[in-house]
């Protein structure tokens, strides 16, 4: 007997009665309030359907009702694990409309902040992925290092999660005294701690068995489904906006784009996606070191851009490399102080779309592994 779930065909030796299981909205493996309706034959899934919207907070509608700068705190809140990146994406889109630019020091500060934020976000991704496959301890080690990062963020902007720090035209504040030393100290500590995650989680035989060859997303599928970020690179596509369409000063910096190579299974499996995140943290650390060497004294805010302004009419789409993929802001201005349309292209939303087509044919336990490997933040899928 065969059950079709999109193009995949599940073949079962013994067919029994299908059972519909409701995974979520309250379920430990759905990273928030995602609801996945699963149809299973025993332990093998034969169908899946995602239901979202439990955390919909009308971000796009709010964007049409508040000032350009007033929208900044709302950008923090769609992907709350990488708020700096969200701030940056929005700020760049507004800057493009304004035709203004950030000073050099602000740009380096922005790179340092978003890369540190990327490390923090990937630490949570890797740690919670450990939770999804049943290893609890790596999560605490990851949060321990993330705590250092949150202290760094707290020192520069006063908040630990929702920063509202990168703003159109620069950043809110200059770094306090000794802050760069703290960042440098973190980069050293992180390189020492990184092997712990590797030894404890990624190299573990059980982890490899649970992730290798599970949830394989082929290169063609990844592109067709619009997957971006680690999900796209995990499928073997060599694409990173930071390198291929550089924004800020990424063009001057030296870093490698990590692509999944199927070291433990086949290209595009859950192991590869996690592997890409693991090594992206190392690369981000490298970028931060380079920026620390290059940053010079100077202004951190473009004088032309204030806290309240009007943008000339026009459209701007800016996609940046968020930890989860391409975060796009499509802003339309009619020349006023408020956006006419504020569209957020959320990476988790797009990456999640393919999951219901990856699940059929997997085992029930793989559902947690696959959803975890996509690394969704529900605040972002639902906005």
């Amino acid at each position: 007997m065969q059950v079709t779930g999109s193009e995949r065909i599940v073949e079962l030796d013994v067919r029994t009665q299908d059972v519909d299981i409701n995974m979520g909205p309250q379920h430990p493996a759905t990273h928030g309030v995602l609801r996945v309706l699963l149809r299973a034959d025993g332990e093998i899934l034969t169908g899946a359907q995602s239901h979202l919207g439990y955390l919909h907070r009308c971000a796009e509608k709010i964007g049409e009702n508040v000032d350009w700068v007033q929208y900044l705190p709302y950008t923090d809140r769609y992907d709350y694990l990488s708020a700096m990146n969200n701030n940056l994406g929005y700020s760049l889109a507004v800057e493009k409309l304004l035709g203004q630019d950030a000073p050099e020091r602000a740009q380096y500060l922005r790179i340092i902040l978003v890369e540190l934020n990327r490390i923090a976000s990937h630490l949570v991704a890797v740690g919670t992925y450990g939770l999804d496959v049943g290893a609890f301890t790596p999560f605490f080690y990851a949060l321990r290092e993330r705590e250092m990062l949150l202290e760094i963020f707290e020192r520069i902007c006063g908040a630990r999660l929702t920063y509202t720090f990168i703003r159109p035209g620069g950043v809110m504040n200059d770094a306090p005294e000794g802050w760069f030393d703290q960042v440098a100290a973190f980069t050293e500590v992180f390189d020492q701690k990184w092997p712990d995650y590797w030894n404890l989680l990624v190299e573990n035989k059980i982890f490899i068995e649970r992730t290798a060859n599970v949830g394989v997303l082929s290169e063609e599928d990844a592109i067709a489904w619009g997957a971006t970020g680690p999900m796209l690179r995990g499928s073997g596509v060599d694409w990173d906006i930071r390198r291929d369409q550089p924004y800020l000063l990424y063009g001057d910096l030296d870093f490698d784009v990590i692509v999944g190579k199927g070291y433990r299974g086949s290209v595009g499996d859950c192991f590869d996606r996690n592997y890409v995140r693991m090594f992206e943290m190392v690369q981000s650390n490298r970028i931060v070191r380079q920026c620390l060497d290059r940053i010079r004294e100077g202004e951190v805010q473009n004088e032309e851009v204030g806290m309240s302004f009007a943008c000339p009419p026009g459209r701007s789409y800016v996609g940046i490399e968020n930890p989860r993929g391409e975060l796009g802001h499509w802003l339309v201005s009619d020349g006023g102080k408020i956006a006419q349309r504020c569209r957020v292209r959320a990476p988790s939303f797009v990456n999640l779309a393919v999951v219901e087509h990856m699940l059929p044919g997997c085992m029930l336990a793989d559902a947690a592994a696959i959803i975890g490997s996509v690394d969704i933040v529900i605040g972002e899928t639902d906005r």
Partner: protein, 207 residues
């Protein structure tokens, strides 16, 4: 750089029967080594109610207001994306009789956007990190340390009024002498009362 930071290589032996047994034992042992090392290392957590985290100067906690500096320009309330600041005062010439200045922490996002436009630099986000309330209405914080007029203000108002009266009297006296000339209809001080917002708001728009 650490050896482990380099990329791994394809390991075909992992797929054989003996390779599986070997790698399972080896990786479990190395993982247990990591956990054993941490078992005897110092914990990093704080015992929260007794030990408090050291909060940085820039921390964005609960607001505090330097009431004497505030000029009731409403700039912070206008900058607030979620309209959680509510203020009310009566102007007596240059003096302010404060009625209320509240921040609704049910809404407040601690984004600090209210701090930047302040022309007098008098509203701040403080170091207090906890919001504890037994009722939703308790989350609407009153930032004022006093309401109504202080004795000093009363004195100053009285002085200003006396001055104004004297000026008026002088003006009237002047008017009386030059009856034919047209007079100003309104008092300059009263005009100021009527205008709610002042110049500083214009300033903040420039950044």
């Amino acid at each position: 750089m650490n050896q482990l930071l380099q990329e791994p290589t394809q390991d075909g032996s992992q797929r054989t029967w003996f390779g599986n047994v070997y790698s399972a034992i080896r990786s479990t042992a190395s993982g247990m080594g990591v956990t054993l090392r941490h078992l005897f290392s110092k914990p990093v957590t704080l015992q929260y109610p007794e030990e408090r985290p050291i909060v940085d100067d820039r921390y964005r906690g609960v607001h505090y207001l330097e009431q004497d500096l505030c000029i009731y320009c409403d700039a912070c309330a206008k900058a607030c994306p979620i309209d959680c600041i509510d203020m009310e005062a009566v102007r007596h010439g240059k003096e302010l009789e404060w009625k209320t200045f509240t921040v609704d922490y049910q809404k407040c996002m601690h984004c600090e956007l209210c701090v930047y436009p302040c022309p007098k630099d008098c509203i701040h986000l403080g170091q207090e990190i906890t919001h504890l309330a037994e009722d939703r209405s308790d989350l609407v914080h009153e930032l004022l340390s006093y309401t109504g007029l202080t004795e000093e203000q009363k004195v100053r108002i009285a002085e200003a009024e006396a001055k104004k009266a004297a000026k008026k009297a002088a003006l009237a006296a002047k008017k009386a002498t030059e009856v034919k000339e047209p007079t100003e209809a309104e008092d300059p001080a009263e005009t100021q009362d009527a205008v709610e917002t002042e110049n500083p708001e214009e300033e903040q728009k420039d950044g």
